[in-house]
């Protein structure tokens, strides 16, 4: 079994974390392959930060092991423990934790000088990193004099400057306001450039990215997890309750928490006067040659340009007949799948806009929904939330 783990993740992270902290018990196994972004998604108190501490070596394991890039970092049974300063793990801490007595440049250079680089050279490198983060002329500023988004980028540069074997980001967008959050999510996506969205990475990001390194993203926000990660692990009460791609979680959530998180509909488009022309992500051509553009109406008319629209699955109403009345968004579609999830029934909708709708089992029964059933969808304009798009 050990040789198995070694061979599949020669340059990845293989963590089997068993930890007790008072009453709380953590028992989590997860692996992240090189070049992959895994998200650890869970509510507050689920043990997310404890996992960060265990992986980084700030908290020794009680059992299990942590392996990275083929070497054992922690294995209490074998008596192995590599202290944090001996691990090559870049951590972006919650609330950044920038050294407030150092300016941005010296914050980024800190890891390089700690690893023995001459100060002048370290500062040169750090300047390159700040340039890559569009912070080139802010190097002399103390963290206090930077905005939340700028601090976050300094923290990311500081973690990446040491060229770590693993990047861990603990709630990297947690302390930011909505605008900064969306702008930074785009920045993160570029720097976490994996094969999936590598095309969107800027040249600077490709040079100064975490391209081939495994990345672990800790978050309580499903949008961050589903937009940024290739694999999502759901952590509840110290245990992983489900792991899979965002799409797998959406189709078959294993717990009520997973169902609630994974049902969120994310739609990319271009906004103008409250009308969102939805981007066509589907590369397969329609039978008629060109797909008709789908236009969503949102109550928010203030936004222009690329947007990320979120629609809660419970905000989507389904009908057998074309509904009359006020809903601004009405279209016809087919049900692709129907998943009973206990208190709710999840209906996955097909073309022209693949959305997830949660309705009561009673309503599903009444509507006689089966895969292939033709349905009318209605969404009130007030239920379409807009944010600037995080992706280039």
């Amino acid at each position: 079994m050990n040789t198995d783990a070694m061979s599949t993740t020669a340059s990845g992270l293989e963590a089997d974390i068993r930890l007790r902290r008072g009453e709380f018990e953590l028992d989590v196994s997860l692996s992240v392959e090189a070049g992959e972004t895994a998200a650890l998604l869970g509510p507050n108190g689920a043990g997310k930060s404890t996992i960060v501490a265990a992986v980084a070596g700030l908290l020794p394991l009680n059992g299990g092991s942590v392996r990275l890039a083929g070497s054992v970092l922690d294995d209490p049974a074998a008596g192995v423990f590599v202290p944090p300063e001996g691990r090559r793990i870049g951590v972006v801490f919650q609330d950044q934790v920038l050294f407030r007595h150092l300016n941005a440049l010296d914050n980024v250079a800190f890891g390089l000088t700690s690893r023995g680089m001459r100060r002048a050279l370290a500062r040169e490198r750090a300047q390159d990193w700040l340039d890559a983060m569009d912070l080139g002329d802010l190097g002399h500023r103390r963290p206090r004099a930077l905005s939340g988004g700028q601090r976050q980028r300094v923290a990311l540069a500081r973690a990446l400057a040491c060229e770590p074997d693993l990047l861990v980001a603990d709630e990297p967008l947690g302390s930011l306001d909505v605008t900064a959050r969306n702008r930074l999510r785009r920045n993160l996506a570029a720097h976490l450039s994996s094969g999936r969205n590598g095309g969107s990475a800027s040249p600077a990001a490709r040079r100064h990215g975490a391209g081939g390194v495994p990345r672990l993203l800790i978050t309580h926000d499903p949008t961050d997890a589903f937009v940024l990660a290739d694999h999502v692990h759901i952590l509840e009460n110290g245990r992983l309750t489900q792991s899979g791609t965002p799409d797998e979680l959406r189709r078959a959530p294993a717990t009520a928490y997973a169902a609630d998180l994974s049902g969120i509909n994310l739609v990319r488009g271009t906004a103008r006067d409250g009308e969102i022309t939805v981007a066509d992500d589907d590369p397969t051509p329609s039978p008629t040659g060109r797909r008709p553009a789908v236009v969503l109406h949102a109550a928010d008319t203030s936004m222009f340009g690329a947007v990320l629209a979120t629609i809660h699955p419970r905000a989507i109403a389904l009908h057998r007949e074309r509904p009359s009345g006020s809903p601004r968004n009405v279209w016809r579609t087919t049900a692709e799948a129907v998943e009973p999830l206990g208190d709710i029934t999840r209906v996955l909708l097909g073309s022209p806009l693949p959305l997830t709708a949660d309705i009561t089992p009673g309503a599903a029964h009444e509507l006689l929904i089966r895969p292939g059933t033709t349905l009318w969808v209605s969404v009130k304009a007030t239920e379409v939330d807009l944010a600037p798009d995080s992706r280039d």
């Binding site: 700030l58 300063e85 951590v91 050294f99 890891g111």
Partner: protein, 281 residues
């Protein structure tokens, strides 16, 4: 129109500030006792200033007896503050960060000089390090070194009473420091000593600064332990406070002059501390 608005709204702003300031006024017993407190502290200063020999002040201060004491005081208090920082900071770190059996006992032991009468501290030092002391005897036989009645004795006595102030202040600052800064430094590859030197100490810098200055001030004013352990030998172990005490018997004007200098120094110190460190924390 204008007149009606002003007449109806006039009582409003007038009543509100009145109520607010009434709440800020203390009840009369509190005010009375607070005033007595101020008088208690102001009266001695008034006495000192009233008695001051303003015309001959400089003559008194430039006398050999005063200059010797001043030089000794400055040198020994700075040395004592340095010793207090050198020993106190590591001790504070251990007390704040390492949990071991007997930690409370150690903390009580090292902060004892704060509550102990300084004379008792000086006597204890004498019994330990004096010529016939438990450690002092063998030390003198082996090296010829004699701590009491020397400048080393003055420094030691000063450090003995000043170090606890550094320990308590720095330990508090270390406990208040968010450990995640040190964690972040460790994940960036910094050794534990580098974390201490480049992150922990700079981050508790203001508290450390206050601690050292307060320790220095305590050493400068130290009397009881010094006179007991090091004596009051003019030009050798007689610091400014000891000089004041001696001068009170022989030369009152000189005693008042030195006292004024010490008061000015202490006041200046408190004001500079207030401006530099207190508001920012």
């Amino acid at each position: 129109m204008t007149s009606t608005t002003t007449s109806t709204s006039a009582p409003e702003p007038a009543r509100r500030p009145a109520r607010r300031s009434a709440r800020d006024l203390p009840p009369w017993p509190v005010a009375l006792l607070a005033c007595i407190g101020v008088v208690l502290f102001a009266l001695p200063l008034v006495g000192l200033v009233a008695r001051a020999p303003w015309t001959g002040l400089w003559t008194h201060l430039s006398s050999r007896f005063v200059v010797d004491a001043a030089v000794l005081s400055v040198v020994s208090s700075i040395a004592a503050a340095a010793v207090a920082a050198l020993v106190g900071v590591p001790l504070a770190w251990v007390l704040a960060r390492v949990s071991f059996p007997g930690r409370s006992a150690i903390r009580a032991l090292v902060t004892l000089p704060m509550v102990l009468p300084p004379v008792v501290g000086g006597a204890a030092l004498l019994f330990a390090l004096g010529r016939r002391g438990v450690v002092g005897g063998p030390l003198h036989d082996a090296t010829g070194l004699l701590l009491p009645y020397s400048i080393w004795g003055v420094i030691l006595a000063n450090a003995f009473v000043a170090t606890p102030l550094v320990i308590l202040t720095v330990e508090g600052a270390l406990r208040n420091l968010d450990r995640r800064y040190e964690h972040a430094a460790a994940t960036l590859g910094a050794s534990r000593l580098r974390v201490l030197w480049r992150v922990t100490l700079p981050m508790i810098g203001p508290a450390l600064g206050v601690a050292v200055v307060v320790a220095w001030a305590r050493a400068l004013g130290e009397f009881g332990a010094t006179v007991t352990f090091a004596g009051s030998l003019g030009g050798r172990t007689q610091t400014l406070p000891l000089a004041v005490f001696v001068a009170l018997e022989s030369n009152r004007d000189a005693a008042v002059a030195i006292s004024l200098v010490l008061v000015a120094l202490s006041l200046g110190l408190l004001i500079s501390l207030r401006d530099r460190w207190w508001p920012s924390r």
